[in-house]
Symmetry: C2
DNA sequence: TAATAGTTTGCAGTGACTGCAAAATTCCAC
DNA sequence: GTGGAATTTTGCAGTCACTGCAAACTATTA
Protein backbone atom coordinates (compact mmCIF):
# COMPACT_ATOMS: atom_id res chain seq x y z
CA UNK A 1 0.00 0.00 0.00
CA UNK A 2 1.17 3.49 -0.81
CA UNK A 3 1.55 5.67 2.24
CA UNK A 4 2.09 9.21 1.17
CA UNK A 5 2.80 10.77 4.52
CA UNK A 6 3.92 8.52 7.30
CA UNK A 7 6.43 6.27 5.60
CA UNK A 8 10.11 6.48 6.31
CA UNK A 9 10.80 6.96 2.63
CA UNK A 10 8.56 9.99 2.34
CA UNK A 11 9.92 11.52 5.47
CA UNK A 12 13.48 11.07 4.35
CA UNK A 13 12.70 12.70 1.04
CA UNK A 14 11.20 15.68 2.77
CA UNK A 15 14.22 15.88 5.03
CA UNK A 16 16.67 15.66 2.17
CA UNK A 17 14.84 18.33 0.25
CA UNK A 18 14.73 20.58 3.28
CA UNK A 19 18.38 19.98 4.04
CA UNK A 20 19.34 20.87 0.48
CA UNK A 21 17.20 24.02 0.42
CA UNK A 22 18.50 25.09 3.81
CA UNK A 23 22.11 24.48 2.87
CA UNK A 24 21.62 26.29 -0.43
CA UNK A 25 20.14 29.35 1.25
CA UNK A 26 22.68 29.43 4.04
CA UNK A 27 25.64 29.13 1.71
CA UNK A 28 24.18 31.67 -0.69
CA UNK A 29 23.80 34.16 2.12
CA UNK A 30 27.28 33.42 3.38
CA UNK A 31 29.25 33.49 0.18
CA UNK A 32 26.98 35.17 -2.32
CA UNK A 33 24.79 33.20 -4.70
CA UNK A 34 27.32 33.20 -7.50
CA UNK A 35 30.09 31.73 -5.43
CA UNK A 36 28.24 28.69 -4.21
CA UNK A 37 28.66 25.52 -6.18
CA UNK A 38 26.20 22.69 -6.29
CA UNK A 39 28.98 20.48 -5.03
CA UNK A 40 29.21 22.48 -1.83
CA UNK A 41 25.46 22.43 -1.32
CA UNK A 42 25.29 18.70 -1.82
CA UNK A 43 28.18 18.16 0.52
CA UNK A 44 26.60 20.33 3.21
CA UNK A 45 23.40 18.32 2.92
CA UNK A 46 25.40 15.13 2.91
CA UNK A 47 24.22 13.76 -0.40
CA UNK A 48 25.81 13.38 -3.79
CA UNK A 49 25.71 16.05 -6.45
CA UNK A 50 23.62 13.78 -8.59
CA UNK A 51 21.03 13.57 -5.84
CA UNK A 52 20.86 17.33 -5.69
CA UNK A 53 19.69 17.30 -9.28
CA UNK A 54 17.09 14.70 -8.47
CA UNK A 55 15.45 17.27 -6.24
CA UNK A 56 16.06 20.59 -7.98
CA UNK A 57 16.43 21.39 -11.66
CA UNK A 58 19.11 23.97 -10.91
CA UNK A 59 20.93 25.74 -8.16
CA UNK A 60 18.68 28.78 -8.18
CA UNK A 61 15.62 26.68 -7.57
CA UNK A 62 17.14 25.31 -4.40
CA UNK A 63 18.13 28.75 -3.14
CA UNK A 64 14.71 30.16 -3.88
CA UNK A 65 13.30 27.16 -2.08
CA UNK A 66 9.86 27.99 -3.32
CA UNK A 67 7.13 26.47 -1.32
CA UNK A 68 4.49 24.92 -3.61
CA UNK A 69 1.97 25.32 -0.82
CA UNK A 70 1.93 29.07 -1.36
CA UNK A 71 0.55 28.77 -4.86
CA UNK A 72 -1.96 26.18 -3.73
CA UNK A 73 -3.16 28.41 -0.95
CA UNK A 74 -3.32 31.35 -3.36
CA UNK A 75 -5.45 29.41 -5.82
CA UNK A 76 -7.62 28.16 -3.00
CA UNK A 77 -8.13 31.72 -1.76
CA UNK A 78 -9.16 32.72 -5.24
CA UNK A 79 -11.60 29.89 -5.61
CA UNK A 80 -13.29 30.53 -2.31
CA UNK A 81 -13.43 34.30 -2.59
CA UNK A 82 -16.90 35.79 -2.10
CA UNK A 83 -18.65 36.35 -5.40
CA UNK A 84 -19.10 40.05 -4.86
CA UNK A 85 -15.39 40.68 -4.34
CA UNK A 86 -13.85 42.68 -7.17
CA UNK A 87 -10.98 41.06 -9.08
CA UNK A 88 -8.12 43.25 -7.90
CA UNK A 89 -9.39 42.94 -4.35
CA UNK A 90 -9.16 39.20 -4.70
CA UNK A 91 -5.63 39.53 -6.03
CA UNK A 92 -4.86 41.77 -3.10
CA UNK A 93 -5.90 39.13 -0.61
CA UNK A 94 -4.02 36.51 -2.55
CA UNK A 95 -0.84 38.56 -2.58
CA UNK A 96 -1.06 39.60 1.05
CA UNK A 97 -1.64 35.98 1.94
CA UNK A 98 1.59 34.98 0.28
CA UNK A 99 3.44 37.90 1.85
CA UNK A 100 2.16 36.86 5.25
CA UNK A 101 3.23 33.28 4.65
CA UNK A 102 6.68 34.45 3.71
CA UNK A 103 6.93 36.73 6.70
CA UNK A 104 5.83 34.00 9.05
CA UNK A 105 8.55 31.79 7.72
CA UNK A 106 11.02 34.62 8.14
CA UNK A 107 11.86 34.15 4.49
CA UNK A 108 10.96 37.59 3.28
CA UNK A 109 13.83 39.41 4.89
CA UNK A 110 16.18 36.52 4.58
CA UNK A 111 15.74 35.91 0.88
CA UNK A 112 14.51 39.31 -0.27
CA UNK A 113 17.72 41.20 -0.73
CA UNK A 114 19.49 38.07 -1.82
CA UNK A 115 17.08 37.72 -4.69
CA UNK A 116 17.10 41.36 -5.65
CA UNK A 117 20.88 41.33 -5.66
CA UNK A 118 21.27 38.44 -8.02
CA UNK A 119 20.05 38.60 -11.60
CA UNK A 120 20.09 34.83 -11.87
CA UNK A 121 17.84 34.46 -8.85
CA UNK A 122 15.46 37.20 -9.87
CA UNK A 123 15.27 35.64 -13.28
CA UNK A 124 14.44 32.22 -11.92
CA UNK A 125 11.92 33.66 -9.54
CA UNK A 126 10.15 35.42 -12.37
CA UNK A 127 10.42 32.29 -14.44
CA UNK A 128 8.58 30.26 -11.89
CA UNK A 129 6.24 33.18 -11.29
CA UNK A 130 5.11 32.99 -14.89
CA UNK A 131 3.80 29.50 -14.34
CA UNK A 132 1.96 30.74 -11.30
CA UNK A 133 0.65 33.71 -13.21
CA UNK A 134 -0.79 31.49 -15.88
CA UNK A 135 -2.68 29.47 -13.32
CA UNK A 136 -3.82 32.54 -11.43
CA UNK A 137 -4.92 34.18 -14.67
CA UNK A 138 -6.97 31.16 -15.65
CA UNK A 139 -8.58 31.05 -12.23
CA UNK A 140 -9.28 34.77 -12.20
CA UNK A 141 -10.71 34.75 -15.71
CA UNK A 142 -13.03 31.95 -14.67
CA UNK A 143 -14.10 33.93 -11.61
CA UNK A 144 -14.75 37.00 -13.72
CA UNK A 145 -16.67 34.99 -16.28
CA UNK A 146 -14.35 36.16 -19.03
CA UNK A 147 -12.75 34.03 -21.75
CA UNK A 148 -9.18 32.95 -21.17
CA UNK A 149 -8.09 35.10 -24.08
CA UNK A 150 -9.24 38.42 -22.66
CA UNK A 151 -6.80 41.09 -21.67
CA UNK A 152 -8.13 42.21 -18.33
CA UNK A 153 -7.62 39.14 -16.13
CA UNK A 154 -4.11 38.60 -17.51
CA UNK A 155 -3.29 42.23 -16.98
CA UNK A 156 -4.62 42.24 -13.44
CA UNK A 157 -2.50 39.27 -12.47
CA UNK A 158 0.53 40.58 -14.35
CA UNK A 159 0.23 44.06 -12.91
CA UNK A 160 -0.14 42.66 -9.41
CA UNK A 161 3.10 40.78 -9.93
CA UNK A 162 4.69 43.96 -11.23
CA UNK A 163 3.55 45.82 -8.14
CA UNK A 164 5.30 43.22 -6.01
CA UNK A 165 8.48 43.43 -8.01
CA UNK A 166 8.49 47.21 -7.99
CA UNK A 167 7.90 47.13 -4.26
CA UNK A 168 10.88 44.85 -3.73
CA UNK A 169 13.03 47.07 -5.87
CA UNK A 170 12.03 50.28 -4.11
CA UNK A 171 12.37 48.60 -0.74
CA UNK A 172 15.94 47.79 -1.59
CA UNK A 173 16.73 51.48 -1.94
CA UNK A 174 14.43 52.69 0.84
CA UNK A 175 14.56 49.95 3.47
CA UNK A 176 12.59 52.08 5.89
CA UNK A 177 9.41 51.50 3.91
CA UNK A 178 8.22 47.92 4.43
CA UNK A 179 7.51 45.86 1.36
CA UNK A 180 3.89 45.30 2.31
CA UNK A 181 3.28 49.04 2.51
CA UNK A 182 4.84 49.59 -0.90
CA UNK A 183 2.79 46.78 -2.38
CA UNK A 184 -0.36 48.28 -0.92
CA UNK A 185 0.42 51.65 -2.43
CA UNK A 186 1.03 49.99 -5.79
CA UNK A 187 -2.33 48.26 -5.68
CA UNK A 188 -4.09 51.51 -4.94
CA UNK A 189 -2.43 53.25 -7.85
CA UNK A 190 -3.38 50.38 -10.12
CA UNK A 191 -6.93 50.36 -8.90
CA UNK A 192 -7.63 54.02 -9.41
CA UNK A 193 -6.06 54.12 -12.80
CA UNK A 194 -2.40 54.53 -13.28
CA UNK A 195 -2.99 57.62 -15.33
CA UNK A 196 -6.49 59.02 -15.65
CA UNK A 197 -5.29 61.58 -18.15
CA UNK A 198 -4.11 58.94 -20.61
CA UNK A 199 -4.78 59.97 -24.19
CA UNK A 200 -5.93 63.40 -23.16
CA UNK A 201 -3.97 66.52 -22.47
CA UNK A 202 -3.64 67.00 -18.79
CA UNK B 1 43.11 59.48 -34.53
CA UNK B 2 40.17 57.42 -33.46
CA UNK B 3 37.69 56.90 -36.24
CA UNK B 4 34.55 55.42 -34.83
CA UNK B 5 32.66 54.78 -38.02
CA UNK B 6 34.63 54.56 -41.20
CA UNK B 7 37.56 52.38 -40.24
CA UNK B 8 37.95 48.87 -41.55
CA UNK B 9 38.25 47.62 -38.01
CA UNK B 10 34.94 49.11 -36.94
CA UNK B 11 33.19 47.85 -40.01
CA UNK B 12 34.51 44.36 -39.49
CA UNK B 13 33.32 44.36 -35.92
CA UNK B 14 29.86 45.39 -36.97
CA UNK B 15 29.86 42.71 -39.64
CA UNK B 16 31.00 40.01 -37.27
CA UNK B 17 28.39 41.01 -34.73
CA UNK B 18 25.69 41.03 -37.38
CA UNK B 19 26.83 37.70 -38.78
CA UNK B 20 26.73 36.13 -35.33
CA UNK B 21 23.30 37.54 -34.50
CA UNK B 22 21.94 36.51 -37.87
CA UNK B 23 23.37 33.00 -37.61
CA UNK B 24 22.07 32.68 -34.06
CA UNK B 25 18.56 33.71 -35.05
CA UNK B 26 18.49 31.56 -38.18
CA UNK B 27 19.71 28.46 -36.40
CA UNK B 28 17.39 29.05 -33.47
CA UNK B 29 14.43 29.27 -35.82
CA UNK B 30 15.58 26.19 -37.70
CA UNK B 31 16.42 23.86 -34.86
CA UNK B 32 14.78 25.40 -31.85
CA UNK B 33 16.68 27.62 -29.44
CA UNK B 34 17.60 24.80 -27.10
CA UNK B 35 19.20 22.67 -29.75
CA UNK B 36 21.60 25.26 -31.08
CA UNK B 37 25.07 25.24 -29.65
CA UNK B 38 27.38 28.20 -29.55
CA UNK B 39 29.82 26.14 -31.53
CA UNK B 40 27.38 25.91 -34.44
CA UNK B 41 26.65 29.62 -34.33
CA UNK B 42 30.32 30.51 -34.31
CA UNK B 43 30.98 28.10 -37.14
CA UNK B 44 28.16 29.54 -39.23
CA UNK B 45 29.55 33.02 -38.71
CA UNK B 46 33.01 31.74 -39.46
CA UNK B 47 34.65 32.76 -36.22
CA UNK B 48 35.89 30.86 -33.20
CA UNK B 49 33.73 30.05 -30.23
CA UNK B 50 35.90 32.30 -28.12
CA UNK B 51 35.17 35.20 -30.42
CA UNK B 52 31.46 34.59 -30.02
CA UNK B 53 31.87 35.26 -26.33
CA UNK B 54 33.78 38.43 -27.07
CA UNK B 55 30.60 39.78 -28.61
CA UNK B 56 27.80 38.27 -26.57
CA UNK B 57 27.70 37.27 -22.92
CA UNK B 58 25.59 34.23 -23.71
CA UNK B 59 23.75 32.44 -26.43
CA UNK B 60 20.39 34.00 -25.68
CA UNK B 61 21.75 37.48 -26.06
CA UNK B 62 22.83 36.71 -29.59
CA UNK B 63 19.48 35.21 -30.51
CA UNK B 64 17.63 38.16 -29.06
CA UNK B 65 19.98 40.42 -30.96
CA UNK B 66 18.70 43.42 -29.13
CA UNK B 67 19.21 46.68 -30.84
CA UNK B 68 20.59 49.28 -28.41
CA UNK B 69 19.22 52.01 -30.65
CA UNK B 70 15.70 51.17 -29.59
CA UNK B 71 16.32 52.11 -25.99
CA UNK B 72 18.13 55.25 -27.04
CA UNK B 73 15.28 56.31 -29.22
CA UNK B 74 12.82 55.51 -26.46
CA UNK B 75 14.70 57.66 -23.96
CA UNK B 76 14.97 60.40 -26.54
CA UNK B 77 11.24 60.28 -27.14
CA UNK B 78 10.68 60.58 -23.44
CA UNK B 79 13.00 63.53 -23.07
CA UNK B 80 11.46 65.46 -25.92
CA UNK B 81 7.84 64.72 -25.07
CA UNK B 82 5.65 67.81 -24.72
CA UNK B 83 5.33 68.92 -21.13
CA UNK B 84 1.58 68.61 -21.05
CA UNK B 85 1.62 64.96 -22.10
CA UNK B 86 0.47 62.63 -19.32
CA UNK B 87 2.94 59.97 -18.18
CA UNK B 88 1.19 56.89 -19.53
CA UNK B 89 0.61 58.67 -22.81
CA UNK B 90 4.33 59.24 -23.03
CA UNK B 91 4.94 55.57 -22.29
CA UNK B 92 2.43 54.73 -24.96
CA UNK B 93 4.34 56.66 -27.59
CA UNK B 94 7.57 55.15 -26.38
CA UNK B 95 6.21 51.63 -26.61
CA UNK B 96 4.55 52.12 -29.97
CA UNK B 97 7.77 53.60 -31.26
CA UNK B 98 9.65 50.46 -30.31
CA UNK B 99 6.92 48.25 -31.73
CA UNK B 100 7.10 50.18 -34.99
CA UNK B 101 10.86 49.84 -35.09
CA UNK B 102 10.57 46.11 -34.56
CA UNK B 103 7.90 45.77 -37.19
CA UNK B 104 9.93 47.73 -39.69
CA UNK B 105 12.81 45.40 -39.15
CA UNK B 106 10.49 42.46 -39.57
CA UNK B 107 11.71 41.26 -36.23
CA UNK B 108 8.41 41.17 -34.44
CA UNK B 109 6.99 38.20 -36.27
CA UNK B 110 10.31 36.53 -36.73
CA UNK B 111 11.44 36.59 -33.14
CA UNK B 112 8.14 36.92 -31.32
CA UNK B 113 7.01 33.35 -31.24
CA UNK B 114 10.55 32.14 -30.81
CA UNK B 115 10.88 34.19 -27.68
CA UNK B 116 7.52 33.26 -26.26
CA UNK B 117 8.27 29.60 -26.88
CA UNK B 118 11.51 29.53 -24.99
CA UNK B 119 11.66 30.23 -21.29
CA UNK B 120 15.36 30.94 -21.47
CA UNK B 121 14.84 33.57 -24.13
CA UNK B 122 11.92 35.17 -22.39
CA UNK B 123 13.85 35.41 -19.15
CA UNK B 124 16.83 36.89 -20.86
CA UNK B 125 14.63 39.41 -22.61
CA UNK B 126 13.06 40.37 -19.33
CA UNK B 127 16.41 40.64 -17.67
CA UNK B 128 17.64 43.08 -20.23
CA UNK B 129 14.30 44.82 -19.99
CA UNK B 130 14.91 45.44 -16.32
CA UNK B 131 17.90 47.56 -17.15
CA UNK B 132 15.83 49.47 -19.65
CA UNK B 133 13.05 49.82 -17.14
CA UNK B 134 15.37 51.36 -14.61
CA UNK B 135 16.48 53.99 -17.08
CA UNK B 136 12.98 54.65 -18.30
CA UNK B 137 11.73 54.90 -14.74
CA UNK B 138 14.40 57.42 -13.86
CA UNK B 139 13.58 59.48 -16.93
CA UNK B 140 9.86 59.31 -16.32
CA UNK B 141 10.19 60.21 -12.64
CA UNK B 142 12.24 63.23 -13.66
CA UNK B 143 9.60 64.23 -16.19
CA UNK B 144 6.88 63.88 -13.59
CA UNK B 145 8.87 65.83 -11.03
CA UNK B 146 8.69 62.93 -8.57
CA UNK B 147 11.52 61.49 -6.50
CA UNK B 148 13.17 58.36 -7.83
CA UNK B 149 11.83 56.43 -4.88
CA UNK B 150 8.14 56.98 -5.58
CA UNK B 151 5.89 54.18 -6.62
CA UNK B 152 3.98 55.68 -9.48
CA UNK B 153 6.65 56.16 -12.15
CA UNK B 154 8.11 52.72 -11.49
CA UNK B 155 4.68 51.19 -11.64
CA UNK B 156 3.80 52.96 -14.87
CA UNK B 157 6.91 51.72 -16.58
CA UNK B 158 6.59 48.24 -15.10
CA UNK B 159 2.92 47.95 -15.96
CA UNK B 160 3.59 49.10 -19.51
CA UNK B 161 6.13 46.31 -19.81
CA UNK B 162 3.62 43.89 -18.39
CA UNK B 163 1.06 45.01 -20.94
CA UNK B 164 3.55 44.17 -23.67
CA UNK B 165 4.32 40.77 -22.25
CA UNK B 166 0.67 39.95 -21.73
CA UNK B 167 -0.02 41.06 -25.29
CA UNK B 168 2.66 38.74 -26.63
CA UNK B 169 1.32 35.87 -24.60
CA UNK B 170 -2.26 36.38 -25.69
CA UNK B 171 -1.17 36.89 -29.27
CA UNK B 172 0.46 33.50 -29.17
CA UNK B 173 -2.88 31.86 -28.45
CA UNK B 174 -4.97 34.21 -30.59
CA UNK B 175 -2.76 35.05 -33.57
CA UNK B 176 -5.63 36.82 -35.27
CA UNK B 177 -5.34 39.73 -32.88
CA UNK B 178 -2.23 41.75 -33.69
CA UNK B 179 0.17 42.49 -30.87
CA UNK B 180 -0.18 46.22 -31.26
CA UNK B 181 -3.95 46.03 -30.82
CA UNK B 182 -3.58 43.92 -27.68
CA UNK B 183 -1.01 46.33 -26.29
CA UNK B 184 -3.34 49.24 -26.96
CA UNK B 185 -6.16 47.52 -25.14
CA UNK B 186 -3.87 46.82 -22.23
CA UNK B 187 -2.89 50.47 -21.99
CA UNK B 188 -6.50 51.56 -21.95
CA UNK B 189 -7.35 49.16 -19.17
CA UNK B 190 -4.37 50.41 -17.18
CA UNK B 191 -5.24 54.01 -17.75
CA UNK B 192 -8.83 53.82 -16.62
CA UNK B 193 -8.04 51.78 -13.58
CA UNK B 194 -7.64 48.11 -13.70
CA UNK B 195 -10.38 47.69 -11.16
CA UNK B 196 -12.38 50.73 -10.04
CA UNK B 197 -14.18 48.63 -7.46
CA UNK B 198 -10.98 47.76 -5.62
CA UNK B 199 -11.46 47.65 -1.89
CA UNK B 200 -15.18 48.14 -2.20
CA UNK B 201 -17.91 45.61 -2.76
CA UNK B 202 -18.97 45.73 -6.35
C1' DT C 1 57.55 50.52 -42.63
C1' DA C 2 57.78 49.94 -37.84
C1' DA C 3 55.70 50.56 -33.40
C1' DT C 4 51.21 50.43 -31.33
C1' DA C 5 46.72 49.39 -30.26
C1' DG C 6 42.96 46.37 -30.85
C1' DT C 7 41.05 41.70 -32.23
C1' DT C 8 40.98 36.79 -32.71
C1' DT C 9 42.15 32.44 -31.35
C1' DG C 10 43.51 28.12 -28.90
C1' DC C 11 43.86 26.08 -24.65
C1' DA C 12 43.09 24.77 -20.20
C1' DG C 13 39.87 24.82 -16.71
C1' DT C 14 35.43 25.28 -13.87
C1' DG C 15 30.92 24.30 -13.22
C1' DA C 16 26.05 23.19 -14.49
C1' DC C 17 23.38 19.65 -15.88
C1' DT C 18 21.84 14.83 -18.15
C1' DG C 19 21.35 9.77 -19.05
C1' DC C 20 22.42 5.39 -17.65
C1' DA C 21 23.02 1.42 -14.96
C1' DA C 22 24.63 -0.47 -10.66
C1' DA C 23 24.22 -0.30 -5.65
C1' DA C 24 21.71 0.74 -1.59
C1' DT C 25 17.51 1.37 0.82
C1' DT C 26 12.68 1.03 1.97
C1' DC C 27 8.35 -1.33 1.47
C1' DC C 28 5.20 -5.02 1.72
C1' DA C 29 3.29 -9.59 1.58
C1' DC C 30 3.99 -13.73 3.43
C1' DG D 1 12.02 -12.16 9.83
C1' DT D 2 12.70 -12.84 4.81
C1' DG D 3 12.62 -12.15 -0.05
C1' DG D 4 11.34 -9.81 -4.05
C1' DA D 5 9.45 -5.38 -5.83
C1' DA D 6 9.68 -0.54 -5.94
C1' DT D 7 12.19 3.46 -5.22
C1' DT D 8 16.13 6.28 -4.28
C1' DT D 9 20.96 7.24 -4.32
C1' DT D 10 25.13 7.29 -6.42
C1' DG D 11 29.16 7.25 -9.60
C1' DC D 12 30.55 7.93 -14.08
C1' DA D 13 30.97 9.48 -18.54
C1' DG D 14 29.74 13.02 -21.35
C1' DT D 15 27.96 17.64 -23.35
C1' DC D 16 27.76 22.34 -23.20
C1' DA D 17 28.21 27.19 -21.49
C1' DC D 18 31.35 30.30 -20.23
C1' DT D 19 36.08 32.49 -18.40
C1' DG D 20 41.03 33.93 -18.08
C1' DC D 21 45.24 34.01 -20.18
C1' DA D 22 48.79 34.55 -23.41
C1' DA D 23 50.17 34.09 -28.11
C1' DA D 24 49.19 35.15 -32.98
C1' DC D 25 47.24 38.18 -35.96
C1' DT D 26 45.61 42.62 -38.16
C1' DA D 27 44.43 47.37 -38.72
C1' DT D 28 46.06 52.00 -37.58
C1' DT D 29 49.04 55.67 -37.51
C1' DA D 30 53.18 58.18 -37.11
Amino acid sequence: MRQAEGGLRERKKRETRAALAEAALRLALEKGPDHVTVEEIAEAADVSVRTFFNYFPHKEHAILGRNPEHLERALERMRTAPAEESPLTTMWFVVSGVLRDLENEGELSRRGELIMGSPALLYQLMMSSFDDERQLTAALAARMGEPASSVRPALIVGAAGTACRVAMELHKNSPERPVSELVAEGFHVLAQGIDPAFGRRR
